[in-house]
Symmetry: C5
């Protein structure tokens, strides 16, 4: 994620940032400009279509459908943003869970009990495991304080966040059986323990479920034909000015689809993705402050 000052308009308007859609779409702008120029040249110079030609009124279709396309793009924007924001909320839930788990264990465990050291390492390990898991990666060096058997569990090719959650869950039940924590305390710590797998499942759901295939196909076909037919009608009123107009409209419509595609999977390393590296680090820092 890019940290930025949302009030700095000047830079936003005139600088082309690497995550800017202007940069990504630039080759397409050239293509659209050439296409529009060819259409304009054909209609104006080659076929010399008169003002009364029927093709002029194709603009009526663009007017009627302008509403639908706008609403669909806003629907697309909304659903993509909702995923991004839900991903953020899930990681926020992970932060809260990690802190509450640390706060409760710090209050429950006798001072100096060796399991403190265990949870101090293992709670943040879950966040690191999840972050890498969502990127399809495994980085053993990001874990702390694993015993040899635990390392083997992580390396075994099994689902890593599940393994880490299992290790934590087993440890808590062991402490309960050893009567280090009482049954009442086990009950109060239960919500945090199950939240680990819940956050993991929710993030996997966001990552693995793009909007339905049919919508994605339909929206792309719709944008394509809408923009490709634009110059045909507007050339009569605008002449060669149709070129910048088509490029600008294409910029607006395609940007919305492009940004939506980028943010609907928020766990990668794109410029707009959530800062899961930073957040995992913060979880480690705060848990170590507490425990």
């Amino acid at each position: 994620m890019i940290n930025y000052n949302p009030k700095d308009w000047f830079t936003f308007i005139f600088r082309i940032h690497k995550a800017d859609t202007v940069k990504k779409l630039f080759p397409m702008f050239i293509a659209m400009a050439i296409y529009s120029a060819v259409i304009a040249w054909l209609e104006l110079e080659v076929f010399r279509l008169s003002e009364k030609d029927h093709i002029r009124n194709i603009t009526a279709m663009h007017g009627l459908l302008g509403f639908v396309i706008s609403l669909l793009l806003v629907f697309r924007t909304n659903t993509a943003y909702d995923r991004w924001w839900e991903g953020r909320r899930q990681w926020g839930a992970l932060v809260n869970t990690s802190r509450n788990l640390a706060l409760k264990l710090q209050a429950m465990l006798p001072a100096g009990h060796p399991s403190r050291q265990f949870f101090r390492a293992m709670i943040p390990n879950f966040a690191f495991a999840l972050k890498d898991h969502l990127r399809g990666e495994i980085h053993e060096h990001s874990f702390e304080g694993l015993s040899p058997e635990e390392k083997a569990a992580v390396r075994s090719g099994k689902h890593v966040p599940n393994q880490v959650a299992g290790i934590i869950m087993a440890k808590v039940n062991e402490l309960y059986r050893q009567q280090v924590i009482t049954g009442d305390q086990l009950i109060t710590i239960n919500a945090q323990l199950e939240s680990l797998a819940d956050v993991c499942g929710a993030c996997e759901r966001i990552k693995n479920t793009p909007i339905p295939f049919s919508y994605s196909v339909f929206l792309k076909k719709f944008i394509f034909f809408y923009v490709m037919t634009l110059p045909m009608g507007y050339v009569f009123g605008l002449g060669y000015l149709v070129i910048p107009m088509v490029v600008f409209i294409f910029y607006v419509l395609a940007s919305l689809e492009l940004i939506a595609e980028e943010i609907e999977d928020p766990f990668g390393k794109d410029a707009n993705d959530l800062p899961t590296d930073v957040m995992s680090g913060n979880i480690r820092k705060h848990v170590q402050e507490i425990l």
Copy 2:
């Protein structure tokens, strides 16, 4: 569900996928084209309506109602998508519940206790039972580790997911009575146990409740009359070009309704439906990794 790369525009625009609405609507495109051609031919050649004929201004109605029809289709899209997404969330909840149940039981049950084997088979059985139940099917071979009485319960024509949930619930209470798990542990495992029936009920609700009949009728009548009257007015400005325009507008409006119909029941085997087969398999795989 179709796995696809949402960033691959080229294929989306030019290939006609089998789940594409272009394919499904193709016969209707032909019909609409013929209908528009006939209207155009009648108005232009047979009746030779003059530019001043009142029917020309029927386009005013299409302009006024263009807002309403767009907003209604987006409302339709939103509600259908919400069901699809809620169905996905419910299955995500089932994944989380299955994992948490396995994680907790793995931590609670003594190593090598025979009930481990039981839950290892029975937790995933619930997912398979639900998947088939939502499709109105029963596949006995998809269950694992059923005792003869349990097989009879499944075969009895009763509600299968309820039977499986009942078997799990009874087993947990038996372990509690045998003091294999304590009362505190029973309380911590309760949320997962009741989540099984909750997910099942929510999926049945989504499956059995299409949007109210009146909206469905109204929307179809509205689209039909809107599109059928389109060529009457626009023929004056567009001549025979009214044919592709009507077909394209019909494509946009009907696609939205068609996709909404398809995704609002997301548990079948359509191209856009949720991959419940894969998800049930993953639940089995992960539960077996844990337990």
Copy 3:
């Protein structure tokens, strides 16, 4: 509720179902047609208003306000649909609660304990009590297994669902005092017990709270004046064609308000209402399968 196949377009478009707004609004269509015809006749034949008369441009107002009226009707549609859907979700919650209560009691109660018979009858009784209560009716014959005192409680004119919930709650606490169920089991069954009154309260809320009076008045006045002024301006462009146009626009706007009115109270016996009879029956069937 009407069970229908949402993919059967043909029937939807050409058949007039009894719940169809076309049927309900038909007398109004006639009235609107006559009104428009009179306006057209007055402007065209009696006053012979010229093309330049100012009244022609009143259409500008319809254009400006077309957006507001569309958005308001969609707002209306959304809120009405949300109530209908929330009503459905509440009944879904009742289904889940009834099943979970049955599943848990089946696992907790000793085989053959007489209270099994009690819950087998009483859990479904709550659904029947609620269904009738939401319609302002009491049908004693729909209850099963009531003792004479319980019958008296139901007949006493008191709030029937509360009485049934009270009977269930008292029985569970009696079993707890008799140590048939333990304290831990009481805690795990608590959520289901309180859900009964919660579902009842939520359904009453939906039933007793239509959208604020001011919106309802405002929306009806707005639709009325909007439609009544429509023919005045459009008669110049459309001549007598203004009659079908006004009727069609009236059909669209009034249908939306009419459907919203019908579905915002979803517990009656209208064609679009929720099938609470069927759902109560299913609850009885499933509870009896389980317990």
Copy 4:
């Protein structure tokens, strides 16, 4: 709140109810009519602006901004309605909590225990305390069964609903210490006890937080300038007909803002406010039926 039959169109359209925005805005209608007449008279008779004067085309601005103003008013309507509905849901939660508390206590407390009388009076007292508190009033006579010390607590100028909740909470813990209710029962009654303060806090939040100041200012300025500039351009097309048109558009835009203002604080005694008096009375009635 006004009870009304939403299907009675005739009365709605032709009667002017006291809560109707037509009544409240009537003086403004006169003012707008005079203002529009003066503008029309100046442009048409005094300055005799020609058809080609640039001011005629100011209507283009109204077209462009018509979208924005409509969408903003719908945003305003949505947020105001959401508060109103959330207020209703919170009072619904209070109804459910009161009922569940009564149902549980009826099942837990020994028959004839004196605390039954206490809760029978005190649970409804909370609803009355909250209702008056949200209106900034204190009506001692609406409480039942207060001991002298409790009366003093209510009279002390402290936060009354908190005091009542505190009295209930203290009583329950006293019963727990006296072992009239067990620890398991205390746990099952906990959710209802904390719901009291939660409902109170949520209602205070709705009451004390209007939409941000900047939006309120911006929206009023926007409506004002939009409507004031309306007659300038439209006078050319509409002549003196601009007067009713401006008044009607003003009616629509101002009504939406006015209704939003009224319903966003739903706890007062306005015609559209929630019937908290009736609801408090119902809570007392139902609690006394149960306990």
Copy 5:
């Protein structure tokens, strides 16, 4: 936050408040006016473009994109408002948690127990710690009743709200170990204890996550180019009247973006921010009334 009477239209329309966007945008209004005047002067006087020049029809683009820009600004408004409102809800949750914690402890702790004094000071301390933390500040004097070690913990540069939550959590567990509160009571107080860190995490999430960078850039670029090209086409119809029109449209579009920027981080000291100072004070007042 500014307390205001939302029904006072007159002041809103004619007074320029310091938080008013009119004030903030005033320099930009001047710039836009000069820019529009130069464009108008160039087109009308220098190049003397004829009525038929193609640039006149660039207005078609503004019409088509008017939908998109309006919808996007409403999307922006919605997401910013949602954050502001969620921030308010989180602080409402903190109020409820603090009250419920005080109510429960008052009922649980023996009269005159020294820990009462502790919680009386420490519960409000959490609200003050959170308020300052969200502004990146630490004000030691706003805490009450800290022991020297607690003061050191706060001063240590660690996460202050976490430290305060940790102190409270440790105290409660100490009371539990001393059997001042029982296990059942510990369970009933658990939700409030974990809510402290949950509220803190949610507020940090809102504060640290502006809308994705790409949207922010795209929206600013879009508004800029949309407004800059506005005078080019409209100058033909409006002459020098294009100046106030462009300024007014700029006022509307930029105000929406500006207000959204201001309210999406609601924990600062801006005029529209939440009154966290007042709310912290109220929490202290109410907790001290109760405990």
